[in-house]
C-alpha cells in the first residue's frame, strides 16, 4: 500500500471573525460541544490546576522571601534546602518553574490595566523609596548598586509586584480548575457550555478580590501594592494576564521564533500574536521552548482517564506532550470564552439597542483577534 502524504495531514476548521462574533453574542461556546471535549478540557485543567498550585506557591515565595535578592540561586526550592530537594532539583525531577517566570515576564513586558498603571504611579515610587532606603542600609551590594543605577531596584520591585500578583491570580485559578474537576466528577458539569459557565462564575466571584502585596524588610513591613491602590482580581490582573499570556506572548513562544529571525515580528507590541492561543502544538527545534515546558509539567499530573485516552491515540506516549498541548489549547479557549462572557459591558439579553451595540462592539473586537488564533483546535477531532 503506497503511503499518500496528504492522508497523513489534518487541517482543522478556520471560523471567520463574523462566525466567532455570532457565537459570542449568542452565548454559545467557541469549543465544539462533545463529550470527548469535556473530558479533555476538564482533565487537562485538573493537571493544569495542580501545576498552577505549585507555580503560585513558588511565585509568592519568590516575591516575599527572595525580595531584592540579587543572586536568587535557590528561588525554585521554596525555602526547602534539604539535600533530597536539591538533588531532585539538580536531576530535574521537578516542575519547570521557568515557565511561570516566562509568564511573569510576559505580563511585565506587555503590562496593561490597573496594575501596570499603578507601577508607574508616584504613590508606588514613594513606597519603593522607603523600601530601598531600608534595604540599602543593610545590604552593601545594593547600597553600591542603587546610586549607580537608580532605576534598577525600582524595576526589580515592579517585577516582584508582578510576580506576586501572578501568584495570587494563579492561586484563584488553580482552586477554580481543581473545583471544576470535582464538579465534573460529581456530575454537576457535563457539557462544554457548563464548563464555560463554571469558569465564568468562578472568575466573576473572584472579580472584586483585592490584589495586595507587602514585604518585610529588616523586620519592618512595607506595602508594595497597598489596599488603597484599589487593585482587583479581574480587571487588574486576570484581563492583563489573558492579554499578555493568551494573546500577545513573546516571539520565542513556539515556532514563530523563526519570524523574529526573519524580521517579521511587529514593532507594535499591541499587535503581537504569540500567546498560548496562537502557539503551535508541534514543537519545533527540540525541547526547551516554553509551551513544551508547561506540557512537561502537566504530564507529571495527568489524570489517569485522559492519560489512558492519550495512550490509545496516535503515537501513544510518543507524542503525548503534543496531545496535552492540543487539549490545553482547547481548554484555554474555554477560559477565554468564560472571561469574555464575564466581561461583556451589558448583559447579553439586554433589550436596549445601545447596550446591544456596546456588546456587539465588544464581541467584534475579541472575534477579530481570535480569528487569527489557533481556532483549528475548536472542532471535534481525534488527536
Amino acid at each position: 500500500m503506497p503511503i499518500i502524504s496528504a492522508d497523513l495531514t489534518h487541517a482543522g476548521g478556520r471560523p471567520t471573525a463574523a462566525e466567532l462574533e455570532a457565537k459570542l453574542l449568542a452565548g454559545q461556546t467557541l469549543l465544539a460541544e462533545t463529550a470527548n471535549h469535556v473530558m479533555q478540557v476538564v482533565d487537562v485543567l485538573e493537571s493544569y490546576g495542580e501545576v498552577l498550585d505549585a507555580y503560585s506557591i513558588n511565585l509568592i515565595y519568590q516575591a516575599e522571601q527572595q525580595f531584592l535578592n540579587p543572586l536568587p540561586a535557590f528561588r525554585y526550592l521554596d525555602g526547602d534546602l534539604s539535600p533530597g530537594k536539591i538533588w531532585r532539583h539538580l536531576i530535574h525531577d521537578r516542575l519547570n518553574f521557568e515557565y511561570a517566570e516566562y509568564c511573569q515576564k510576559s505580563m511585565f513586558w506587555h503590562g496593561t490595566g490597573g496594575l501596570d498603571a499603578y507601577l508607574d504611579s508616584e504613590a508606588f515610587r514613594a513606597g519603593c523609596s522607603a523600601i530601598i532606603r531600608r534595604k540599602t542600609g543593610r545590604d552593601p551590594l545594593l547600597a553600591l548598586l542603587h546610586p549607580l543605577f537608580p532605576d534598577f531596584l525600582l524595576e526589580l520591585i515592579r517585577s516582584a509586584a508582578t510576580t506576586h500578583a501572578l501568584g495570587q491570580f494563579w492561586r484563584v485559578m488553580s482552586d477554580l480548575f481543581l473545583d471544576l474537576a470535582r464538579a465534573e466528577k460529581d456530575g454537576q458539569v457535563s457539557t462544554v457550555a457548563a464548563v464555560v459557565e463554571f469558569l465564568r462564575q468562578g472568575l466573576v466571584a473572584a472579580a472584586a478580590n483585592p490584589i495586595t502585596y507587602a514585604v518585610e524588610v529588616a523586620g519592618e513591613r512595607f506595602w508594595v501594592l497597598p489596599p488603597q491602590a484599589g487593585l482587583t482580581f479581574l480587571a487588574d490582573v486576570a484581563v492583563p494576564y489573558i492579554e499578555a499570556v493568551f494573546l500577545r506572548g513573546m516571539p520565542f513562544l513556539g515556532t514563530v521564533s523563526f519570524n523574529a529571525q526573519a524580521q517579521q515580528v511587529s514593532p507594535d507590541q499591541s499587535t503581537f500574536a504569540y500567546g498560548a492561543l496562537f502557539a503551535d502544538p508541534l514543537p519545533t527545534m527540540g525541547s526547551g521552548i516554553p509551551p513544551s515546558l508547561l506540557m512537561q509539567d502537566m504530564y507529571r499530573h495527568l489524570p489517569e482517564r485522559l492519560h489512558q485516552w492519550y495512550r490509545q491515540t496516535s503515537r501513544g506516549e510518543g507524542d503525548v506532550r503534543v496531545k496535552i498541548c492540543l487539549s490545553f489549547q482547547k481548554s484555554m479557549f474555554c477560559v477565554t470564552n468564560a472571561a469574555i462572557a464575564g466581561t461583556f459591558p451589558q448583559p447579553l439579553d439586554h433589550a436596549d439597542p445601545a447596550a446591544q451595540a456596546a456588546n456587539r462592539a465588544y464581541a467584534a473586537s475579541w472575534a477579530a483577534r481570535l480569528s487569527h488564533s489557533r481556532t483549528d483546535c475548536l472542532d471535534a477531532c481525534d488527536l
Binding site: 503506497p2 503511503i3 499518500i4 502524504s5 496528504a6 497523513l8 495531514t9 489534518h10 487541517a11 482543522g12 478556520r14 515556532t255 523563526f258 503551535d280 502544538p281 508541534l282 514543537p283 519545533t284 527545534m285 527540540g286 525541547s287 496516535s314 503515537r315 510518543g318 507524542d319 503525548v320 506532550r321 503534543v322 489557533r374 483549528d376
Partner: protein
Amino acid sequence: MLSTLLLIPFLGAFLLLFWPGQPVPGRMRVVTIVVLALQLAWSLRVLLAFDPGDGGMQLQESFAWVSSIGLDYRLGIDGLSLPLVLINAALTLVSAVCTRDISQRPRIYFALLLLISGAVNGAFLAENLLLFFLFYELELVPLWLLISIWGGTERAYAATKFLIFTAVSGVLILGAFLGLALLTGTVDFSLTPVLSERLAMGSQLLLLGALLIGFGIKIPLVPFHTWLPDAHTQASTPVSVLLAGVLLKLGTYGLLRFCLGLFPEAWALLAPWLAGWAAVSVLYGSLAAIAQRDMKRMVAYSSVGHMGYILLAAAAATPVSLLGAVFQMVSHGLISALLFLLVGIVYRKTGTRDLEVLRGLLNPERGLPFTGTLMILGVMASAGLPGMAGFISEFLVFRGSLEAFPLATLLCMVGSGLTAVYFLLLVNRAFFGRMAITPPSEDPVADARLDIRLAAVAPRETIPAMALAVGVVVIGLIPTWLGRISEAASTTMARLPGLVANLQSGGLG
C-alpha cells in the same frame, strides 16, 4: 574454506526455491536471514584464518574445470578482497533484515538476494579471469529482476537501462580478457599480475581502455553513470542498499585487481589522465547531487562522487592511497547503505522523498527524530568528519595521492567540501524547521497549522541502520582493525609498476 562462502548462499537460494508448499513471506525472510547470518559467521571465520602479514593470495582452492578454454575453478583471498567479502555478508544480511512487506513472490525475491550475495562473493574470490567474469555476469540478472519486479513506478525503464549498461560493461570486460589471452597467445586465464609485460604498449592501452570503460560503467564514473540514479530511484530500499554497498564495489575491485593488477605499465602511463577523470567524476557527481530534489537521487549522485576517490587513489597507486581505496570501498559501502536505509524509512513513513516538500522531520514528538539523528551521523560521516569512517578513507586517499597528482587531489578535496554542501542542504531542508510532508499551498498560515500524523518508527526498524552507524563510528575510531588486514596487500599492489620496470630492464631476470 572459501568455497563454503559460495555454497552457503547458493544452497540457501536453492533451499528457498524448492521449499515445499506455500510458506508465508515471514518464514522465507527468517530462512534468508539465518542463511546470511551463517554466511557472515563463515566470513568472520575466514577473517580469523587470514594472515594479515601476507600480501599475496591466501587460503587458495583450485581444481581444473574446463581447462581447454582456460576456465579453472580457482579461489583465493587477500587484503583487498577480504574486507569486501565481509561487507558483502554484512550488507546482504542488512538488506534481508530491512525487507518488509514483500507482498509478491517472496520466495523468488529472497532466493535472488542470496544468489546475488553468492555471485558477489565468487567475483571477489575468483583467481581466474573467466571465473570472475562468470560471477560478475551472474549477479546481473537477479539484480535486474529485483529492480524490474519489486521497483517503483518507472521500474521497467530503470531496470532495462541498468541491464543495457551493465551488459555492455560485461562485454567490454570479457573482450579485454579474451584479447589478453589472444595477444599473449595463452589460454591461461589465471590471475597473473604481470602477464601483460609481453605486450606492446598499444595493445596494453587498448585492453586497459576496454577494462576501464567496462568497470567505469559499473563503478560508475562520469559519463557512464546515468544508469545509477535511475536504478536507485526505482529500486526498493534493500536493493538500493545492496547496489550501493556491494555491487558498485565490483567495479572498483575490478579497477584495482584487473586494471592496475594486469596492466601496471599501461596504468602508470594513463595515471595522470585517470586522476583527471577522477576529479571530473567527483566534481560532477557532487554538483549534480546539489541540484537534486529527490533524497534518494541525491544519495545516488553522492555515490558517483565518492567512487571517484577510488579512481584517484588507484591512479596514484601509492601504498597509502591504495589502502585509502580499500577504506573508501568499505566506508562508502557502510555509509551509503546507511543513508539509503534512512531515506527508505523516511519514504515509508511520509510517502515522499521530495526535498521541496519535506520539512522538520527531526520533530521530537511527531517526526522521525531517531531516523534524523542517524541521518545527521550518516551525512557527517559521508562528508568526512573526523571520528567516522569517511574521514579515515578520504584522508588516506588524499594523503596518498597529493604528491603524485596535486591538482586532481585538490579538486577532489573540493568535491569532499561539496559533499558537506549537499548533505547539509538535505538535512536542513528535510529535518529542520516546522514539520511538513505535503507541498506548500497558497496559504502559508494554513500550512503552518497542518497537524501531521506519521506512524512512529518502531525500534526494530532502526536496528539495521543502527548496526551500520556503529560500524561507521568503530572504523572511524579504530581504523587499524581494517588497516591491518589490507596494508600488506595494498603495499604489494603498489609495488607492481616498479616490478614491471625492473622486469623490463632485466633487473629481476
